[in-house]
Symmetry: C2
Subunit: 156 residues, 2 copies
């Protein structure tokens, strides 16, 4: 299975970038993984959240293939333990060639993105910035593969 993470806008916090680089490097020992950062063209940036979500949705949906299994990282999504998340990934790997995770922009997702999604995953009942969540997610994805492989990180 190939995993792709889509996110919106460059990171402006250097520690987030550094953490993402670290966990991406570790993750690539286990799985084919890429992060794609989508950027709205300047004239589509706006203080109107609904407009931004619409434009981001158009950008994202062009990139998603019909057979991709799409999981949104969303506060309203399902809560998993790390072990449940690992088990879900393992099942997906047996049934799908490509799994796509999406971290929304500052305003969240437009309806058409929810409509395309196959599942929603919540990392926490708390709200994290859409930048900080990038590191959290990559740490969890990496952790999931150490669980799948029975490697010791999970107790760290």
């Amino acid at each position: 299975m190939k995993i792709t993470l889509f996110q919106f806008g460059k990171t402006h916090l250097s520690f987030v970038d550094e953490g993402c680089v670290l966990f991406t490097k570790r993750l690539k020992h286990y799985v084919k993984f890429d992060t794609i950062t989508l950027e709205l063209p300047p004239k589509q940036r706006s203080a109107d959240g609904d407009l931004v979500k619409k434009s981001e949705a158009a950008l994202l949906l062009k990139k998603i293939q019909p057979n991709d299994y799409v999981i949104l990282l969303d506060e309203k999504g399902k809560n998993y333990s790390s072990r449940q998340f690992a088990a879900t990934l393992q099942t997906l790997a047996n049934t799908h060639a490509s799994c796509v995770f999406v971290i929304g922009g500052a305003f969240g997702f437009a309806d058409e993105v929810y409509a395309r999604a196959n599942a929603q995953l919540s990392l926490s009942s708390m709200t994290f910035s859409h930048q900080v969540i990038r590191v959290l997610f990559l740490e969890q994805l990496y952790r999931a593969f150490t669980i799948i492989k029975g490697e010791p990180y999970h107790n760290d």
Copy 2:
């Protein structure tokens, strides 16, 4: 109210350090806040998790004052939304002069730490490393104060 965060062992991930410095600086605009990193003496470090937890508990409990309100960050703790967490902090600030948060070591907490605690807070149903959780927690604490003050970060 004064807030103190206790944690065990120096951070070995530089992005975690960098994130903690960033959110600590932001947090100090709102509240008297300190992080205290406790380190076991080398001869007490061990692969035996129960022994380590016991030694860490002794170190921690010496530092905690009788009137401190002690909240453990623990997977088995209560889940809050960011707004609920902010409301809880605001209530605490009206009733307590000192609030202590504790992030356990790699093996978690000994029974005597649970016995002293006033509350337990879970940041996620997923397991994060006791290092990465430091940044998550500081981001949430900072976010809580922006919510209490009605400032705009919460929508970022």
